[in-house]
């Protein structure tokens, strides 16, 4: 698994007798993450948009409910869950699209590492750049919505377990629509039904904690869903990419 003497990124001439040492799984992952993060850093403004969207959504909810503290506290956990879910959803379309347009995805398919692995790594970057900032911001956003403090640990735990599942399922949907010129609302239409169980268990466990019940059951189910999707979703997304670029 350890990267065996990675070949330098610039192969000069593809001469037949030059043996190019293929990068290992870790090496490929490191290179992909570094590239994605660098690209993200080059357009820092765009990268902030999911977090801004979540903040705006929280503000709109507060305004729509008229700033009623009790009403806001009651729906705070659900609103935060939805804000994270929708922010991730908006970023889905760009998950593979740029790479599909500039031909990088074809290179992924030809790469000596499994396509599913690259998909998993890219999905991790997606989660780390869209959901993780929201997870860090959740205490502040919760404070804005008068989220009862004792619900915060359960909310954070459910988000930490649930949002990777959302990214993984979203990767499958994004891969399915990558062949289309514009997927538009179809991505949301395909992804949201798949998101429902995660939302039910995630927001549901916080709601149970709010009622003074034990939220562990829902969290364990979320963890189980995460384990299964972690295994299967990258493979399904890889299959979808193969179909789309056929």
């Amino acid at each position: 698994m350890s990267a065996p003497a990675r070949s330098q990124a610039t192969p000069t001439t593809p001469a037949a007798n030059v043996t190019v040492v293929a990068p290992g799984l870790i090496g490929a992952a490191r290179a992909l993450i570094a590239r994605d993060l660098r690209l993200l850093w080059r357009r820092r403004g765009d990268a902030l948009q999911p977090a801004l969207f979540a903040l705006l959504m929280v503000a709109l909810f507060a305004l729509a409910l008229g700033g009623d503290h009790a009403a806001l506290a009651k729906v705070a956990a659900g609103v935060l869950w939805l804000a994270c879910l929708l922010a991730g959803l908006l970023a889905l379309d760009s998950l593979f699209r740029g790479d599909a347009e500039d031909g990088s995805l074809e290179q992924w398919m030809l790469a000596p590492v499994p396509l599913g692995w690259l998909v998993a790594v890219r999905t991790f970057t997606h989660w780390a750049t869209t959901s993780l900032p929201l997870l860090i911001a959740a205490p502040v956003l919760g404070e804005l919505l008068y989220l009862p403090r004792e619900q915060l640990p359960v909310l954070l735990l459910s988000l930490a377990l649930g949002t990777p599942v959302l990214s993984l399922l979203g990767a499958v949907v994004a891969a399915l629509t990558v062949g289309m010129r514009r997927s538009g609302i179809l991505v949301a239409l395909l992804a949201l039904p798949l998101y429902v169980p995660v939302l039910v268990f995630g927001a549901g466990s916080v709601a149970r904690a709010a009622q003074g019940l034990d939220p562990v059951g829902g969290l364990l189910l979320l963890a189980a869903i995460l384990a299964v999707t972690l295994l299967l979703a990258p493979l399904a997304a890889a299959a979808a990419i193969r179909i789309a670029l056929n």
């Binding site: 395909l190 798949l194 429902v196 039910v200 299964v228 399904a236 179909i243």
Partner: protein
């Protein structure tokens, strides 16, 4: 080659399938309607009224078979899709995509009849109960499969992509099937016991079985005629279709 296997392989050929589907779709529809008519007659006139729900329970003879079909058709769609993805059998892609609108129809009937039953019995058209919610998600999944199939231009790629979505969606089926069992501990009250064996008297059972058989036969007819239409559309440039159409006109 074994004649049965040979016949099965031959059926993959579009012209042969067209002839097969044209013949058997009629039988599926005809027998299905006949059996369902018998089942409806039994459900409406033979079975005595329920002790508590009186005549209200009779809608179950539509509701239960269509709920059953809504799950079975999805599973069948996923199986056809898996076969299409692995062995690239064109006919299986067609059959899988023909399943989607029929399954969506059954799901819609299930939701509608459940809602109509729920109004007098529960006092509400809709309850955010796990069984109802998951059935609604199933409808959205069907619509997603149909939408994806029509959003991609290349028919074969479209069928494979939508088929993959169907396979991913299969994860929902056990959730729907066991939602009543699983959520009992979480969800107090509002448990639907329509699948409970204990609540069914033996005299009420035969019409339900007729309806279950009838919907399946009708489904065979619908599936074959839908698949036949899609098959003809895909093969529209071929000589045998031209001959078929010319023969019809003559």
């Amino acid at each position: 080659m074994n004649p049965l296997v040979l016949w099965f392989h031959k059926l993959g050929s579009p012209p042969l399938f067209d002839r097969f589907a044209a013949r058997w779709a009629r039988w599926g529809y005809g027998l299905g309607l006949l059996v369902m008519a018998w089942g409806i007659y039994g459900a409406l006139f033979v079975v005595p009224p329920h002790s508590e729900q009186l005549d209200g329970f009779r809608i179950f003879y539509i509701h239960v078979p269509s709920a059953w079909m809504s799950l079975a058709v999805f599973a069948l769609m996923a199986i056809y899709s898996a076969i299409a993805l692995v062995w690239r059998i064109k006919l299986c892609e067609i059959l899988a995509m023909a399943c989607a609108p029929i399954g969506a129809g059954f799901t819609l009937i299930t939701l509608a009849t459940g809602s109509i039953w729920g109004k007098p019995m529960w006092g509400t058209w809709w309850e955010w109960d796990p069984r109802l919610t998951t059935e609604l998600i199933l409808l959205f999944l069907y619509l997603g499969v149909i939408g994806l199939y029509h959003a991609i231009d290349d028919r074969r790629n479209a069928a494979r992509a939508a088929g993959l979505l169907a396979i991913v969606g299969v994860a929902l089926l056990p959730v729907i099937r066991y939602s009543v069992v699983w959520w009992n501990s979480l969800h107090q009250g509002s448990t639907i016991n329509m699948f409970g064996q204990s609540h069914m008297d033996a005299s009420m059972l035969p019409p339900l079985i007729w309806m279950l058989i009838g919907t399946k036969l009708w489904f065979v007819g619908a599936l074959l005629s839908r698949a036949r239409a899609d098959n003809l559309r895909r093969e529209s440039g071929k000589a045998w279709v031209a001959e078929l159409v010319a023969g019809k006109r003559a």
